[in-house]
């Protein structure tokens, strides 16, 4: 691609990969947590709720720092993951982890709002027709929260595309490995005369995110229209 240099190109591809996986992998957890928060009463509910929101409240640098402590090569969780064959420290996987963690509260909130809007009487109807709880969730709740799921996913994706502070703190700014678009933008801004290059990358990220947004609007509207019946 002529317009983007090879490094920029690789930053773009990396960002896409990071954002995609961050969104995809965190989605099931987000759905589960959102469902639990919306529908169950359990001790420690507030604590879970608080934990979920933590990445939003903390300065990203702190989140990154905590991730570094927990998931670094020396960190306890990092060790666990490494045993499972997943190395996150200073890898793109770590960038995805950081982006996923940062985007998690947004996703959970969107999904939770949607779940709370589902009429429990429809879920009851499902149960009355013989569907066990899990099947009620899959056949009634899940399809009905699709618009919220899409909204949550696009929020998460956008956030993941733009995440900077936690990523650079956690996995550093290594070109080709952890240098996502925002980090590349940041690097360009550090260099005198780097603004045009930075602007180019900003435009690229906007383009990608807008594409995702348009797509999600389309999907979300269709899902909503299905339910509204129009």
């Amino acid at each position: 691609m002529g317009w983007l240099g090879p490094e920029e190109w690789s930053a773009l591809m990396l960002s896409l990969r990071v954002a995609f996986w961050a969104t995809l992998v965190s989605m099931p957890f987000a759905v589960f947590v959102a469902y639990a928060l919306a529908r169950w009463q359990f001790p420690g509910r507030s604590v879970v709720n608080g934990l979920v929101h933590l990445p939003l409240i903390l300065p990203p640098v702190v989140t990154g720092y905590l991730l570094l402590l927990g998931f670094g090569t020396q960190g306890p969780l990092g060790g666990l993951l490494a045993k499972a064959g997943i190395v996150v420290a200073f890898r793109w996987t770590g960038a995805a982890l950081a982006a996923g963690v940062m985007a998690f509260p947004l996703m959970v909130r969107a999904i939770r709002l949607s779940i709370e809007a589902v009429d429990p009487r429809l879920e009851q109807a499902g149960a009355s027709l013989g569907a066990p709880r899990v099947m009620v969730f899959l056949t009634v709740t899940l399809p009905m929260i699709l618009p919220g799921l899409v909204a949550g996913a696009v929020l998460a994706f956008a956030k993941a595309m733009g995440e900077f502070g936690a990523t650079i703190t956690f996995v550093s700014n290594i070109p080709g490995q952890t240098q996502t678009l925002p980090l590349a933008v940041h690097s360009f801004l550090q260099v005198p005369g780097g603004e045009p290059a930075a602007m180019r990358l900003v435009i690229v990220s906007i383009g990608v995110a807008m594409g995702a947004l348009l797509l999600s609007e389309f999907v979300g509207r269709r899902a909503a229209a299905r339910v509204a019946g129009t």
Binding site: S128, G130, M144
Partner: protein, 367 residues
């Protein structure tokens, strides 16, 4: 299969406390708006956990708070027709109809989908989503969804409320068939006298969350002091056989040697049918009427005269066709000098017997 229900539940503003054992067939819950019908049905369905109680179909216990037993709703194998439809908005009509069958056990008896769809007249709607249906169409889909779920217990909360008479007349026989042939216990909520009269094996009349009266349909319906569906629901059921279809559009029935004329009914000649004759459609005469437009005149003897508080009295007359009830004014009863054992004639207009009052099969306690 006996449905045994014992539920007590405290709601803000009202205490529900009912207990009844219903024989096989259709148990109609009857009562004014707000008397607790839906609450009881919900408890049977498991959508409401009552403070205390026990519900069982024979020895299949749905729940028993005393023993801490609670079958989750999805294991109760219900066909619940909700008062407010509750169709799945994201599924097409066809998918809504299939929903229950996705979870029915392999061996379960299945209703014939095509037949149900035809009976409900929703064949042209299969690809639509519920939001695009009319009120009555929604209700019909909801009925279909419940019937096609291979239920072992049907709960129907005013299933026909939004439907026109013609449509009702098409759907009622299906419930009869479920009652008579398939013997699925049915708990049925309705305000309609015609439906009570037609379907009910036993009736539970509720008032402010309490059972006011409970018993076999024939008994409750012929008791003017309760007359849960309004006195208009009082009536008797005759067992008859289709004798001849006449070319002038009348069907002649034979019941215990007596003849009854009705507007044409769809049953084949020789088939046996149940005919409900509403008490208020019957006149009595002390001699054989002459020059009257009524074609059905049954000779009999007065069995009993019961009067309630109003101006009316219910007279039971034993005829060869069976027992007939007549609701007349007390004034007429006196004028005719009616008393037990007296011979009299029951006069029924031919057209007063409506098609929806004819059922195809025998039910227990209907004679």
């Amino acid at each position: 299969m006996t449905l045994s229900v014992r539920v007590s539940h405290r709601l803000p503003g009202m205490d529900i406390k009912v207990a009844f054992d219903a024989p096989p067939g259709v148990t109609v819950l009857f009562g004014r708006s707000g008397s607790g019908k839906t609450t009881i049905v919900n408890a049977v369905a498991g959508l409401l956990k009552p403070d205390a109680g026990r519900v069982a179909v024979d020895d299949w216990v749905l729940f028993d708070t005393e023993k801490g037993h609670w079958l989750p709703p999805y294991r109760r194998r219900l066909g619940y027709i909700f008062q407010e439809g509750r169709l799945f908005p994201h599924l097409t009509v066809s998918q809504n109809l299939s929903y229950g069958s996705w979870f029915a056990p392999r061996g379960a008896r299945r209703e014939n989908r095509g037949k149900v769809i035809e009976m409900l007249g929703i064949g042209h709607l299969l690809d639509r989503r519920p939001a695009l249906l009319s009120g009555g169409e929604k209700q019909r889909v909801a009925i279909g969804r419940a019937l096609l779920a291979s239920p072992r217990l049907i709960l129907a909360d005013e299933p026909l409320a939004a439907l026109d008479d013609a449509r009702k007349a098409e759907i009622l026989p299906y419930f009869e068939r479920l009652r008579d042939e398939v013997s699925v216990p049915i708990l049925y909520v309705t305000h309609s006298a015609a439906e009570v009269a037609r379907l009910a094996t036993s009736v539970v009349a509720l008032q402010s969350g309490q059972v006011e009266r409970h018993g076999p349909a024939a008994e409750v319906l012929s008791d003017p002091s309760v007359a849960p569906a309004g006195v208009r629901a009082v009536g008797a059921v005759l067992q008859a056989r289709v004798h001849t279809h006449h070319p002038d559009g009348l069907t002649e029935l034979e019941a215990g040697g007596d003849r009854l004329f009705l507007p044409r009914i769809p049953h084949r000649e020789g088939e046996s049918v149940r005919v409900r004759i509403a008490a208020q459609e019957v006149m009595l005469a002390d001699r054989e009427p002459q020059g009257l437009s009524a074609l059905n005149v049954l000779k009999g003897t007065v069995l009993a005269i019961r009067s309630g508080e109003g101006p009316g009295a219910i007279v039971s007359v034993q005829t060869r066709a069976g027992m007939v009830l007549a609701r007349i004014t007390r004034r007429s009863a006196e004028a005719l000098g009616l008393r037990e054992g007296m011979e009299c004639y029951a006069v029924v207009k031919t057209v007063a017997i409506a098609p929806e009052d004819i059922g195809g099969h025998v039910i227990e306690g209907s004679k």
